[in-house]
């Protein structure tokens, strides 16, 4: 059994220690926001927060995650109330297929935690490791720029 601090709770999971965290979160913890995209830290779809910093969970081994405070998209909302970043993305329809959306939302959340008024450059730099194939980038950027005002 490995203990995880996940979205404010401590839980125990049973999985081989080398299992990438993304698999553990999805299959043992019911965390479906974490998407498998490239499994090589190239696309950002599996991004979570580890000690408040965005990291890909596809290559992070379970054993290396147990000491860290983990937050996924599911942990950003307070009950039914979405975080400001989620709300900004939702009300701007800042998505098409949405497969990349949770990773982007998590990274943007971390950005706004550290800087309430990020510039355009801050935003695109924070999201540069996140691929979106639908071309929804302009509206993601606009939604976050509006939130930054």
């Amino acid at each position: 059994m490995t203990k995880l601090q996940l979205n404010g709770e401590t839980i125990a999971v049973e999985a081989i220690e080398t299992t990438p965290l993304a698999y553990v979160l999805r299959n043992e913890c019911g965390i479906k926001s974490v998407k498998l995209g490239c499994e090589a830290e190239q696309c950002g779809a599996c991004t979570i927060l580890a000690d408040d910093r965005p990291v890909p969970s596809c290559t992070l081994a379970l054993s290396d995650a147990s000491e860290r405070r983990l937050t996924t998209l599911e942990g950003l909302a307070k009950g039914d109330v979405l975080s400001a970043v989620q709300n900004a993305l939702l009300t701007s329809n800042a998505s098409q297929c949405g497969y990349c959306l949770s990773g982007i939302a998590v990274a943007a959340y971390a950005l706004f935690q550290s800087n309430a008024h990020p510039t355009h450059n801050d935003i695109v730099n924070a999201l540069d490791g996140h691929l979106c194939r639908c071309g929804a980038h302009p509206r993601v950027i606009r939604a976050l720029e509006q939130l930054a005002k």
Partner: protein, 697 residues
């Protein structure tokens, strides 16, 4: 033959389209599927408008065989035009039938937010009171009067919430990848190193119960209740596989040359329909050759599907664009009665045309057959997605023109070479176009590629210019033998044809010493095309400086789009950065303005990525673009400012817009690069290397 939408002729039973529930909700069905393009929201709005109810009251049910109407394939930017028209007409009939229940003259009744009032009614009533739980039992055979667009309250509004988005932003597992069933197996496939490798031996003895694995021909699958274990098994089993290479991929010639060398047939296109007669030979004063490489759909989530075989009934959860096509393909491959196969659409990551969704669906079904009773969720790896999906075909376009003394085009030639853009499974043919079928012992060969002759089909889509030229020769040159597997990529041939036409128009404008907008206007008669061209020039505040323009009407019958691109080209590195895009479009009657803008802008950004960065790399032994580093796409830091303006025409039919901006954006970009550098880039992608090669010519 009535004037009904095609989908209603196929499915006239009103109860298949609409049901009124006791809780006040209205269930509207469509055979089209949500690919991320926002179709379910559009269908919801169309139904709400026609019924005069709040959009939140309408719940849209999408694609399941035997349940929803069969609307074939969700492709070609046709869903608003076809399913939208059918849903509008079905709702108009439902409204008329319900109001007729409470009034002899239903035209006197008014409906507002679902509340029915008017003469003859003792008290206001509602659709729920009239019809809840009661089927209509009505066959639509003739059209009924629809709402006058001048009375629209919902359609065309600035903003509507996407109905699929809230779940996604909350992390609800709505994708096929997220499915979970009790006792579910996770499956992975071990693929050969290339198209031309066949399996000699593989060692499955390391697979121990309760894990499962099987091999059939060159098809190797492993399954485990633990997903990560399934991936490890796939790797370790794969390491024991010994393959024989039967032949090599032709990779020693530039694709543009390969296309010419392997041309099999040529079809002059007249009145949008290719005819099989020899082309005229024309001499032209100005000519140029353009090309694009193979392009990936590049879904962000590798393809996936789930399946379960219970008591001879196969249930499949699939992200296929064509659930009926894949159902009949499965029936043929598995030698089953199609009636014993149920396909339920579940969203995948955006597909942008025919990607590997069908292949993964077949893989899942084969795994389910090998583990009867067990639900199986199958996922592809990123490397397999990159190497095995059917690519958008390489293309070559040769343009030629004569300019008159007045500087007008009096002769125009367009020769387009390409491989097949049609690789969807086509049940009933002798071959089969899914990967597993090629690898199984008792499988199928791929179908022989054949040119299509419908108007605006694959290779010659948008090969006919939107401009008026006195003498034209447009020739489709079909090349059957593609080194790589191909199928339909968003906008099909329109992407490269419009890129070539719009680039060439700028080259001609330069030769005629006329500015590009004036030159285009001089050759345009279509007032809607003229309007979007002028609108985009206004929006951008002119097309001077490092800017270029592009224009097209998708398939010469759908959405009009004009694009202005502005670039900055680094004089040292020759890297192109797009700083600003302006888009103007006319998609007829606007259903969902924000959704339309999303599609137009998304298409433009995707086209920038294709044009600036993308080319499937391969050598004689296989595909070498295997991840996002070997096949880079556009990133957030490379995204321009985008401004979009839409010309709404409420009295005219809605026109499909999902593929409208790829061509115009590509032309505008190449023209902007020329404006900035005097370098004419004719071969995609517009990388520093291609810019330097073009500069050296």
């Amino acid at each position: 033959m009535s004037n009904l939408p095609e989908s209603l002729i196929r499915t006239p039973d009103l109860d298949r389209w609409i049901a009124i529930e006791h809780d006040g909700s209205i269930i509207v069905s469509t055979g089209k599927v949500e690919l991320g393009q926002g179709i379910l929201t559009a269908i919801q709005l169309i139904a709400a408008e026609e019924l005069d109810v709040d959009p939140d009251q309408v719940h849209v049910r999408s694609a399941e065989t035997g349940i929803t109407p069969n609307e074939m394939v969700t492709a070609g930017s046709m869903s608003v035009e076809t399913s939208g028209a059918a849903v509008r007409q079905a709702c108009a009939w439902a409204r008329r039938l319900m109001l007729s229940e409470v009034s002899d003259d239903p035209t006197q009744l008014e409906v507002s937010n679902g509340v029915v009032t008017g003469p003859g009614l003792n008290a206001p009533t509602s659709y729920t009171e009239i019809q809840a739980g009661t089927p209509f039992k009505f066959q639509i055979v003739d059209p009924t009067q629809e709402k006058d667009p001048s009375q629209y309250k919902v359609l065309g509004r600035d903003h509507h919430a996407r109905i699929d988005l809230e779940d996604k932003i909350r992390g609800v597992g709505v994708f096929v990848h997220d499915l979970e069933f009790p006792d579910m197996l996770h499956a992975r496939i071990v693929r050969p190193p290339s198209y031309h490798h066949r399996l000699e031996t593989v060692d499955l003895t390391q697979i121990e119960a309760p894990d499962l694995g099987f091999v059939d021909g060159s098809f190797i699958a492993v399954m485990s209740i633990n997903e990560y274990r399934a991936t490890r098994l796939a790797e370790s089993v794969g390491n024991t596989a010994i393959w024989t290479q039967t032949r090599q991929i032709p990779a020693d010639k530039p694709l543009s040359d390969y296309l010419v060398a392997h041309e099999a047939s040529a079809f002059p296109i007249l009145d949008n329909v290719p005819q099989e007669v020899p082309p005229r030979s024309l001499t032209t004063a100005i000519n140029a050759v353009y090309s694009r490489p193979y392009l990936m759909h590049g879904s962000l989530g590798p393809s996936a599907a789930a399946a379960q075989l219970v008591d001879g009934i196969l249930t499949v959860w699939s992200p296929s664009q064509g659930i009926e096509l894949i159902r009949h393909t499965l029936a043929q491959l598995l030698a089953m009665d199609a009636k014993a196969i149920r396909v339920i659409y579940v969203q995948g990551a955006g597909c942008y045309g025919h990607n590997a969704a069908d292949d993964a669906t077949v893989d899942a079904a084969l795994c389910a057959r090998a583990a009867p009773g067990r639900p199986v969720l199958l996922k592809w790896s990123r490397a397999d997605e990159h190497q095995w999906e059917p690519y958008g075909p390489a293309m070559r376009v040769g343009m030629g023109a004569n300019l008159s003394d007045r500087g007008d085009v009096d002769l125009w030639t367009h020769d387009v070479w390409s491989f097949s853009h049609a690789g969807r499974p086509a049940p009933g043919r002798t071959g089969m176009d899914v990967i597993a079928a090629w690898h199984l012992n008792d499988g199928f060969e791929p179908n022989e590629p054949a040119p299509r002759f419908g108007p605006e089909s694959g290779i010659h889509r948008n090969a006919l210019p939107i401009y008026e030229f006195p003498d034209q020769q447009v020739v489709k040159r079909f090349v059957p033998d593609s080194p790589l597997r191909t199928s339909s990529l968003r906008s099909l041939g329109a992407h490269c044809n419009v890129f070539a036409i719009e680039s060439f128009m700028d080259e001609l404008a330069l030769a005629a010493d006329t500015d590009p907008v004036t030159f285009r206007l001089r050759h345009l008669q279509d007032t809607r095309a003229i309007a979007v061209l002028q609108r985009v020039a206004e929006l951008a505040g002119g097309v001077s400086g490092s800017r270029g323009i592009g224009l097209a009407q998708y398939k010469n019958r759908q959405c009009y789009a004009a694009v202005v691109a502005e670039v900055a080209v680094d004089a040292t590195t020759a890297e192109v950065r797009v700083t600003h895009l302006w888009i103007a479009a006319d998609a007829g009657r606007v259903v969902d303005r924000d959704g339309l803008t999303n599609q137009l802008e998304g298409g433009a950004i995707q086209a920038l990525s294709w044009c600036l960065k993308e080319a499937v790399a391969f050598d004689r032994n296989g595909i070498t673009s295997r991840d996002w580093e070997t096949y880079p796409i556009l990133r957030f830091s490379e995204i321009p400012l985008v401004e979009t303006d839409i010309i709404d025409r409420p009295q005219l039919e809605s026109l499909g817009a999902g593929e409208a901006t790829q061509g115009p954006t590509s032309g505008a970009l190449a023209n902007a690069i020329y404006a900035a550098t005097s370098i004419r880039v004719r071969n995609m992608p517009f990388t520093p290397q291609h810019l330097r090669e073009a500069a050296a010519v």
